[in-house]
């Protein structure tokens, strides 16, 4: 605060302080008044001008702020006194940053540094400007200048970091020379001044490591400088890593052994140790050890290069060492030495040793840690190497061990849960016959209820014993629904989770499952409500939004979708805006390794596929919302530079470097990625078998990423296609020769984009045209379009717009006057919609029903087509006076008017059919709906089919009687009927929100 005041640019503190106080308390009007008064006294003061600029920017007047900034900048050149204090410059900098005009601030600092030489404060300001601009070369040059002033270590390190950033984030050209320069600078400095900061040493080592000079790095570490690292194991870890990279495996293994002796629970270190012992470079050959955000759980290893004799020797050495760790570490919770046995046995098996003791190691680990919640995730990578027979054997043995150890009820319960989780992991549930599956599920529900009392005295905030059982019950119920298509199972899955949440409302696993189940059941408001209950904010928006955004993009809840997208984008943009300042903070606090990390992290987020999608979908949503008014659509398009802005987002380079930061682990089994929902297809055991194996996960990830790239390209074309379609349609007049050049230009661009659009659906342009023509004439079935059907309809719409202004021959069923393409659009949309409407069941009885397809038909192809029509019928006489909007264009040819008219009629017919369906469902009596939902569950005494789990839960709730504990009270408050009513209400809201308004105006025009 103090630095802001004082005699700022010759103005006394008492005049400046009230202005800043008003700004800080957001009283901008008052601040402006004070500043204006001050400006009359100091009319030429760049500082006061910059203050006024700051206030104007905060008041939402960016243009005035910018002009004041430029005036202040001008003032700087005539007032050298102002330059030497940082007040004016830093204020200009703040405003420019908010205005997105970093260049102005930079040029101010550049000018100041040129005028006032050797002022460290100003040079640091300039360095900061270059950090904001990501100008690594200029950063380096400025830092070197600062270093030369006083030989300070920190400025040298600033320069070295800037060099490293050029190598990490640059093209890779000249990297070697740059690193050599960094090394030279450091060596020279060390020779005269040595190094004094541990972080400086880490940078020095990393510069050597980047050049693969591992032995030199080792020498540095073992020399005097090594003592800068106070914590011994930190030094050892680096030493081990360098030795391993230098392929000196025996020495590296010895070092990792030392680390393990003092940190016996360090699993990563054990993997380093065993890798080095077996001369396996898998952990080191990839450069950095762990570049992936979500690395695969399987630990890669290479073993075949060792002779059997050597292998045996090394393994027995490892076993011996692990045995020693066992005997020296008696702490109850040290898991690593026990899991180490499993890893050793796994390596034996992978090497092909017949007599491994993997099973024994499993059982030992279970006996000791089977009650821990993390048991299954600890052993996941070992489960992958078991044969089917061993899987069965293992389960049987675990059950026996658990039964023999079950003196403590909590531990027995936890052991059983672990066994169930392992069964789930194996995918055993998908192999069971239906009755066996139901039986298992009933047992789990009973187990849950029987053990509720164990949690009676727990704090309500604490995790209850057995909570996982309800997740498992839900998973099985969803599977039963998939296999039998009985609605009751799906409803029961929802009820089970709602029951669990009424007992303890903090269980995020239940909430996520509900988000997906409600989405599948067209109860989007409830899905969104539970998503909100997860309290997702800040960085979790990047990792967790995939649970809701993909469904919401297809739902009619546009207001909520808009909130989601806006919230996410503003979080990301805010971070991008402040990231450079945080990087500078790391520079100032001499935490150089964080500097590089921060810059790379910003890149990671900036290339996020989700961020790119949100930047595309947010304006597309606006276009959808405004589609009934062409003028409003044009306003939106203007703000997007007629769609060009979004087109640039999907450049080949940005698509190549896409990042996928979302956390897929928390997704339910039936939708492992947003693109997959097994429940939409028939039961297929093979589809889900091995779902948790690395190979299938890798494949899924690859598919997802490839698909995301295509979708991003396709969506980025959309706004420009809409703009060009409107343009082509509006230039459509019989006497339009004057517009020919313009028209041709637009038309050529539209065709080029259509070719790209077709490619992104997987077809060359001419083939895509053939498909669309074939579908409209009934010669080709819709099935060929697969899940891209909406994109195909969009294609037909834009194809028609292109045809309107094209000199190319009309499409096959045209009559030479170009209306053929109108007919094609009408037929494609009409036919597909009718087919959907014919097959559509009420949402209440048909989970997974494709209501969202109808939403998309209305909000995309029909809406875009309506814009083309609006553009055609809108006329603007040469005088510029507008005619009535509803009046059809008198310059259009008769066949064209006829085609447009029948197209309007067709759209109205399509919309009419959808409205009828919606109204029938909205107006259907609630009691009937309630009956549809509840009757499958209300089958007293049933021993098979849906309803059994609910019966167990209800029986427990009623036996809770008048118990006054928290759990009994919560159970009494739960009601299946209430849940059913909530679903009905949410579905009704979904249906009501789906107002097919975009073409209503057209229908009016037509009538």
């Amino acid at each position: 605060m103090a630095s802001r005041f004082g005699m700022a640019a010759g103005i006394p503190e008492r005049r400046i302080r009230p202005i800043w106080e008003a700004v800080d308390s957001r009283q901008f009007k008052n601040a402006l008044k004070l500043t204006t008064a001050l400006l009359t006294k100091y009319p030429n003061s760049p500082y006061v001008m910059s203050l006024k600029a700051l206030i104007m920017e905060r008041m939402g007047k960016p243009e005035e702020a910018l002009s004041l900034c430029l005036n202040a900048k001008e003032g700087l050149s005539s007032d050298n006194a102002v330059l030497s204090d940082d007040h004016t410059l830093s204020t200009i900098q703040t405003v420019c940053q908010r205005l997105g005009r970093l260049d102005i601030a930079t040029s101010c600092y550049e000018y100041a540094c040129g005028k006032v030489s050797n002022n460290l404060e100003l040079m640091m300001g300039l360095f900061n400007c270059y950090v904001r601009e990501r100008s690594f070369v200029k950063q380096q040059q400025t830092a070197i200048k600062m270093y030369k002033l006083g030989g300070e270590e920190r400025f040298l390190l600033w320069a070295v970091c800037s060099i490293q950033l050029q190598v990490f984030c640059g093209t890779g050209i000249g990297g070697e020379k740059l690193l050599l320069l960094a090394e030279g600078l450091l060596k020279k400095h060390i020779a005269s001044h040595s190094l004094h900061e541990p972080e400086a040493l880490l940078v020095y080592i990393s510069v050597m490591e980047q050049q693969a000079k591992y032995n030199n790095a080792l020498q540095i570490l073992s020399g005097e400088l090594g003592s800068l690292l106070v914590i011994e194991v930190d030094r050892l870890r680096i030493q081990g890593r360098l030795l391993a990279r230098a392929c000196d495996y025996p020495a590296a293994a010895e070092i990792f052994k030392k680390v393990l002796e003092s940190c016996p629970d360090d699993w990563e270190c054990f993997l380093d140790y065993i890798g080095c012992l077996l001369e396996d470079d898998s952990r080191w050959c990839g450069g950095t050890v762990d570049k992936q955000i979500h690395p695969l759980k399987f630990v890669d290893c290479k073993l075949s290069h060792l002779s059997e004799e050597v292998f045996d020797l090394r393994i027995s050495e490892a076993l011996c060492f692990v045995q020693k760790l066992h005997s020296e570490t008696d702490a109850e919770f040290i898991r690593c030495p026990y899991l180490a046995n499993l890893e050793i046995e796994r390596r034996k098996r992978l090497y092909g040793k017949g007599e491994d003791k993997l099973m024994e190691a499993f059982l030992n680990y279970f006996s000791r840690f089977g009650h821990l919640g993390c048991f299954t995730s600890d052993v996941e990578m070992f489960l992958q190497v078991l044969t089917n027979n061993e899987e069965l054997e293992l389960i049987g043995k675990l059950i026996r061990i658990n039964a023999s150890q079950s003196n403590v009820p909590v531990k027995a319960l936890e052991g059983l849960i672990t066994i169930s989780k392992i069964q789930e992991w194996f995918g055993n549930m998908f192999k069971l016959p239906l009755d066996g599956l139901e039986e298992t599920n009933v047992r789990r529900a009973e187990l849950y209820c029987q053990n509720l009392s164990l949690s009676k005295d727990l704090d309500p905030q604490e995790t209850m014993h057995g909570e996982e059982l309800l997740c498992m019950a839900c998973n099985v119920l969803v599977q039963l629904f998939w296999r039998t298509r009985q609605l009751g199972y799906l409803l029961e899955a929802i009820m089970v989770l709602e029951f669990g949440l009424s007992i303890r409302r903090f269980i995020w696993q239940y909430k996520i499952l509900l988000v997906h189940l409600y989405s599948h059941f067209s109860a989007f408001p409830l899905a969104y409500e539970w998503y909100k209950a997860l309290d997702i904010k800040n960085i979790l928006l990047e990792t967790v939004s995939h649970h809701i955004v993909p469904q919401m993009l297809l739902s009619p809840l546009w207001v909520d979708l808009s909130d989601l997208l806006k919230g996410y984008l503003s979080f990301m943009d805010e971070h991008f805006a402040e990231s450079a300042d945080l990087t500078f903070l790391a520079y100032r606090h001499r935490n150089y390794s964080k500097v590089i990390e921060f810059v790379q992290f910003k890149d990671q987020l900036q290339h996020s596929h989700q961020y790119l999608m949100a930047r595309l979908e947010s304006p597309i949503l606006q276009l959808k919302q405004k589609a009934n008014n062409i003028e409003e659509v044009e306003c939106v398009l203007d703000s997007l530079n007629s769609g060009i802005q979004l087109l640039e987002l999907s450049s080949e380079e940005s698509c190549k470097s896409l990042t996928f930061n979302d956390d897929m682990q928390s997704r339910p089994w039936w939708t492992p990625t947003p693109d997959i929902n097994y429940l939409l297809g028939p039961f297929d055991e093979n589809a889900v078998c091995g779902l948790r194996e690395n190979s299938s996960q890798q494949e899924q990830t690859k598919k997802r990423e490839a698909n995301a790239r295509k979708v991003i390209e396709r969506r980025s074309l959309l706004p420009r296609l809409i703009h060009l379609s409107i343009q082509c349609a509006s230039l459509l007049k019989d006497n339009a020769e004057a517009n020919d050049t313009l028209s041709d230009g637009k038309n050529l661009e539209l065709k080029a984009l259509l070719e790209r659009y077709a490619r992104s659906i997987g077809f060359p342009f001419s083939d895509a045209v053939d498909v669309i023509v074939g579908i409209s004439s009934g010669q080709v079935s819709f099935e060929i379009l697969g899940s891209d059907v909406i994109d195909w309809m969009n294609f037909a719409v834009f194809l028609n717009a292109w045809k309107l202004g094209s000199h190319e021959p009309s499409l096959p069923d045209g009559d030479g006057c170009k209306p053929g393409s109108w007919h094609i659009v009408d037929r494609v949309i009409e036919k597909y919609t009718q087919e959907q409407l014919r097959n559509m069941q009420p949402v209440i009885s048909s989970p997974g029903i494709d209501l969202t397809v109808l939403v998309q038909i209305v909000s995309e192809p029909l809406a875009w087509h309506s814009l083309v029509i609006q553009s055609c019928v809108r006329t603007s006489p040469p005088s510029g006076k507008k005619k009535k909007k509803s009046e059809p264009a008198d310059q259009l040819s008769a066949p064209l008017i006829q085609a447009i008219s029948s197209s309007i009629q067709s759209s109205c017919g399509t919309i009419g059919g959808i409205i009828k369906l919606l109204e029938e469902q909205i107006n259907h009596p609630e009691d009937d709906k309630l009956d549809t939902l509840l009757s499958p569950l209300q089958r007293a005494g049933c021993t098979q089919g849906p309803g059994q789990i609910i019966q167990i839960l209800e029986a427990t709730s009623s036996s809770a009687g008048l118990g006054s504990d928290r759990i009994s009270e919560a159970m009494r408050s739960w009601s299946a009927v209430d849940v059913a009513r909530k679903i009905i209400a949410a579905q009704k809201t979904t249906l009501s929100e789906f107002h097919p308004t975009p073409v209503k105006r057209l229908c009016k025009t037509h009538n």
Binding site: C263, D266, W267, K297, C336, C374, S377, D459, N538, D663
Partner: protein, 174 residues
């Protein structure tokens, strides 16, 4: 099975399962990054097999003279990794750094007065209630300022409990 290492930016993309927990606050980015930029030795993460994040601790060192102390801003452990004394391990690490590297006098932390399980845990770890801070949490709930003396505070002066509660504006640091 705990590899404890410095928290890095990518961990922000990997700590989701830990932060789903309703008692774990997800702060804004500048908060995490300021801690990483200024006190990287006070921000550690514990990783289990499969590179799963088990929990993390964030803190800082601040103060003047005999108030020079380590501060625990947040410590959290994912539910499946609880009851393994991981929080203790993380706390000990921060205490060690405060004690041996930064030569601080004590370590302190704030806890909701209603969070009895946490208070009990900190007491087991050697922390005492130094003072009550009235309406510390969003102007509603009281907070307890708990402290543990380090070796530099030979006479354990830093942990002699205050006799009266204080208000948030009386606190020396945020």
């Amino acid at each position: 099975m705990t590899t404890i290492r410095r928290f890095c930016c990518n961990d922000l993309l990997r700590f989701t399962p830990v932060n789903f927990d309703h008692l774990t606050e997800t702060f804004n980015m500048s908060f995490y990054m300021t801690y990483m930029a200024r006190w990287p030795d006070y921000f550690h993460v514990a990783e289990g097999p499969g590179n799963r994040i088990m929990g993390y601790i964030m803190g800082k060192v601040e103060g003047q003279g005999e108030s020079w102390h380590g501060h625990v801003t947040a410590v959290t452990v994912a539910p499946e990794y609880r009851r393994q004394k991981l929080a203790k391990k993380l706390m000990n690490l921060l205490e060690d750094i405060s004690d041996k590297i930064d030569k601080a006098y004590f370590v302190d932390l704030f806890v909701r007065a209603s969070n009895i399980p946490a208070i009990k845990m900190y007491e087991k770890l050697g922390y005492v209630i130094y003072r009550r801070v009235l309406r510390y949490y969003s102007g509603e709930e009281d907070g307890l300022d708990m402290r543990k003396a380090l070796s530099r505070d030979v006479e354990k002066k830093s942990i002699i409990p205050l006799k009266r509660p204080v208000t948030p504006d009386e606190l020396e640091y945020d």
